[in-house]
């Protein structure tokens, strides 16, 4: 699972906060957790003080996580009529359009349940060249990050060329 804050590093700090009786989970990498002032060193504990501090930090963290989210969309999906309340209740979406309509509230939930926020698997054979390229580019960029982190610059250069060589515009089958 990737850090919910930077979306780059593996999340190794997992926190649960109870808000209005509901548990909310946060997954962060150590760097982001440290930036937010969360102590992950596991030193001697002062439980009372720590809880206060933690509450405070989590309140800020929650604000931070909520900040970049776009404004909520319409109350119901124009294709299937699914409402936000219904989605929250059932944990299901009504149609493919719901993923766009409720992107603001759904995406953070989807990402928190999953390994990342970018599909890296199979792409329908009949989809457009642009679509195929964008998934392929995401996959190559991930490998590139790894190559750079591992100081394998030869491979990194190769990957960069491959990304550049990917078709950018619609050119294939519709």
């Amino acid at each position: 699972m990737l850090c919910q804050n930077c979306h780059k590093n593996e999340a190794t700090v997992h926190l649960t906060q109870i808000v209005d009786g509901k548990a909310e989970k946060f997954h962060l990498c150590e760097e982001c957790a440290a930036q937010k002032g969360i102590d992950v060193s596991g030193g001697p504990m002062d439980l009372g003080g720590m809880m206060e501090k933690l509450k405070d930090q989590l309140a800020h963290l929650k604000e931070d996580l909520e900040k970049p989210r776009p404004a909520p969309g319409p109350a119901a999906c124009p294709v299937c009529g699914m409402t936000r309340t219904e989605i929250l209740k059932k944990g299901r979406l009504g149609c493919d359009r719901c993923y766009d309509v409720f992107a603001a509230e759904m995406l953070p939930v989807v990402v928190s349940l999953q390994h990342g926020d970018q599909h890296l698997g199979k792409v329908p054979k009949r989809s457009s060249l642009r679509l195929k390229s964008s998934v392929e580019a995401a996959r190559l960029r991930r490998e590139l990050d790894k190559a750079v982190a591992g100081e394998n610059y030869e491979l990194a250069a190769k990957l960069r060329d491959q990304i550049k060589a990917l078709p950018r515009d619609e050119g294939g089958t519709p």
């Binding site: 493919d96 993923y99 999953q114 970018q118 998934v135």
Partner: protein, 350 residues
């Protein structure tokens, strides 16, 4: 008798712990509401189009509204339809190949649930089958797909690859040695799930478990399969160790368990599904440990399916009430396991 031995050893090595591998893919048609939100006319259209697209690859096709409750129950016990499809769901259907190893469920939670089954540990092969079937269907069906979120599904836990890969494992050693719980907890931390085949949690009925991937977005199919395969092999290794320790350190207990199971299976006059699955599991362990002679593992595996309520009634040819079923089940077990004159010669003194 001797001619059977290499076969039995090979069967045990191949299917003793991992019975089967399965891959299922969730797919939906672009621009149409998912089954829960779609009007019947839309679902009828989805069903017709999918059945047509699947006609050559999956020629055995049935609409579930036309299937009797017993027929549906058989399909459920065969793992071809989900529990959801036991109930009336509008325009639900099933397409299968002749061998019933590849199938697509239509109008379940998603428009399409493609699945492929392989015996033993063969996750990649099951994926290759499901992938090819997906390609065939996709030639005529336009899937809901986004470049960021991949295949769009009714439940966000399936989005991305839409793939759930699983291995069915028989893990009596780990359960009896009390080692299953830490393993199940550990799997959760690395994005895998373990569920009982016929029951929930670590107290799974018949020590039969399904290990599967939980994450579907942000990781490619090949990677999910490779990780799952590695873990399944690791669990199988733990199971082998647990069985060895069970045999070495708790010999009398393990031998008694297998002998009692055999005694009940060959003598009982009434037997519930639950008891049958539990005793068959213990018998399966007895065979693997070398305590139970003259019964082939493949026979037990066949019985694991045949003792289930719908299969039993289909074999008898009529619907049975609870006690009739228990009697028919006990009879089926006695007939299969009780009379083994040819195999007993020279093998037993008792």
């Amino acid at each position: 008798m001797n001619a059977r031995l290499p076969d039995e050893a090979a069967y045990l090595a191949e299917f003793g712990i991992v019975l089967s591998s399965r891959v299922r893919l969730a797919r939906n048609l672009r621009g149409l509401p998912f089954p829960d939100k779609a009007p019947a006319a839309v679902l009828a259209d989805v069903r017709r189009r999918t059945m047509a697209a699947a006609r050559d690859a999956l020629p055995v096709q049935e609409t579930l509204a036309d299937a009797s409750p017993l027929r549906r129950q058989i399909l459920f016990e065969d793992h071809l339809i989900s529990r959801n499809l036991l109930e009336d769901r509008p325009e639900a259907a099933l397409c299968m190949n002749a061998e019933h190893t590849q199938a697509v469920m239509i109008n379940e939670e998603d428009h399409l649930r493609i699945q492929a089954l392989r015996p033993g540990l063969a996750l990649r092969e099951a994926w290759t089958d499901a992938d090819a079937l997906d390609d065939v269907l996709e030639r005529q069906l336009d899937y809901a797909f986004s470049s960021a979120l991949g295949y769009l599904t009714s439940c966000p836990t399936n989005v991305g690859t839409g793939m759930r890969a699983s291995a069915m494992m028989h893990l009596p050693g780990l359960v009896l040695q009390n080692e299953m719980e830490p393993i199940a907890n550990g799997l959760g931390k690395i994005g895998l799930t373990v569920r009982g085949r016929w029951g929930e949690g670590t107290a799974a009925l018949g020590h039969m478990f399904q290990v599967s991937n939980q994450l579907t977005l942000g990781v490619a199919e090949e990677r999910i399969l490779a990780d799952l395969e590695e873990i399944v092999k690791e669990i199988a290794g733990h199971e082998r160790n647990a069985r060895e320790r069970l045999k070495r350190e708790r010999t009398a207990f393990a031998e008694d368990l297998a002998a009692r199971a055999e005694g009940l299976l060959t003598a009982a006059r009434l037997m519930t599904t639950q008891e049958a699955l539990e005793r068959l599991s213990e018998l399966r362990l007895g065979i693997a440990l070398g305590f139970t002679k003259g019964i082939a593992l493949a026979q037990v595996d066949r019985l694991l399916l045949d003792v289930q309520p719908a299969h039993l009634q289909a074999a008898v040819g009529r619907t049975l009430n609870g006690e009739e079923r228990d009697a028919a089940r006990a009879e089926r077990l006695r007939n299969e396991l009780g009379r083994r004159p040819a195999r007993r010669i020279g093998k037993r003194t008792t």
